[in-house]
Subunit: 220 residues, 2 copies
DNA sequence: TTTTTTTTTTAGATAACTCTAATTTTATTT
DNA sequence: AAATAAAATTAGAGTTATCTAAAAAAAAAA
């Protein structure tokens, strides 16, 4: 069963939205996620339903099937492996990789992805800290907490970002926050939820709640 | 001016056929080259004419324009760089790369191809000995002669193959002919054009005229 | 429980690419 | 030069993916 590039993009979006815990994935959500119109989404949902990668009853909602999950995870695996390649080997910065990976993820060749994985030394996480599924779709995810939900004096290590937009990533670069950084919460402002943290035991950083909520920490 | 994947494939085929020296490129030739029907070719020629990458007058013939050449060479450059990547870094064999490169050549990102070129150390030839155009489309080609046209006692180095089909390449692997091999013509059979050569001063090899005509040699 | 709003789907078009079958043009024979 | 064959193009249809506008269904508000 092979999917077209468009189908892969839709299915990936559906998978991501499904994982976000929301009760159900709406047509409008999907349209927003892949920058298309709800009418186009309705049409594609029908097709994805026929291919049995989702279970779809119109007006009612949809549910991704096991088959759908497996296929989505394969695309996600490819996307993230390519991101690692671009950063580790071609020296892209982590805010430059997304667009290109969005294209590369659709290249069809199991041999290619096997070899790429080996070449990169079987990485477990992509440049944004997201876990790379193995060839069977198994994901080894780490327990993570949003930085704004940590308490004062708690410490940990930045392991991922929720928002992978270029703007956000460049902001993090600028202030010196990066994946792997060891941090400690120095202060939290009740009023607006902003936090003050200590990075690598030497630099203090203020950040808004909005920023902090997009940084994921492995607590220690 | 950007081309679709299909347009890039057509234009590349047209460029290759134009380079083969034949007086003009026929609709049927193109159809055969990219495994499609003449009717589809006619339609695409009209579109490529409108985009001014070829000059096209129906029933008369076509000529690739300077713009068309430049764009075709860009695609060829990408194709061959990816082939080098697959062989040098991912350890594909030279008969496994074509299909995948056929997909990868359409990835759109100038940064990607610049970085890939640098990463591969600015290779000048692909795994089949074909020259890699630089970013301006300049090709540094070597003077080459088909092995079956060499005379007895002449020597040289295999630098390329004309036929890049998996079957032919695997045959060359089997008999021990490879790009870079130093050869010398020991004997030629008038009757059927077959040749006997000495490879790397140790191994003698018989090959039919058909095989020899697909091996290109830099004479020494 | 109506009414209104929002969400979702359908209808109808368009664009890109492909095909088969029919037609037109050009080339080759007789 | 006329007949025939070959090559190329057009006509018409199908697929995939997208859109706008209209209709239908569900959810929210009055
Ligand atoms: Mn994509
Ligand atoms: Mn990522
Ligand atoms: Mn191609
Ligand atoms: Mn090649």
């Amino acid at each position: 069963m092979e999917l077209t590039t468009a189908e892969e993009n839709y299915l990936k979006a559906i998978y991501h939205l499904s994982e976000e815990g929301k009760k159900s994935v709406s047509t409008n959500d999907i349209a927003a996620a892949i920058q298309t119109k709800p009418a186009s989404v309705s049409d594609m949902l029908r097709k994805l339903g026929e291919k049995e990668v989702i279970q779809y009853r119109k007006y009612y909602g949809l549910q991704i099937t096991e088959l759908g999950k497996r296929l989505a995870l394969q695309t996600i695996r490819k996307h993230r492996l390519w991101e690692v390649f671009l950063v580790d080997k071609l020296h892209f910065s982590w805010d430059e990789v997304h667009e290109v990976a969005e294209q590369l993820e659709h290249i069809q060749s199991t041999l290619l992805i096997e070899r790429l994985d080996a070449y990169l030394n079987y990485p477990k996480f992509d440049p944004h800290g997201d876990p790379i599924p193995d060839e069977y779709g198994d994901v080894r995810s780490r327990p993570r907490i949003a930085l704004n939900e940590m308490n004062i004096d708690q410490g940990g290590q930045i392991v991922a970002v929720k928002d992978s937009s270029a703007a956000f990533l460049r902001y993090l670069d600028k202030v010196g926050a990066y994946i792997g950084a060891r941090i400690k919460v120095l202060d939290k402002v009740e009023f607006d939820g902003s936090v003050e943290i200590l990075v690598d035991q030497k630099k203090t950083l203020f950040m808004s709640k909005d920023v902090a909520s997009n940084i994921l920490v492995l607590q220690s």
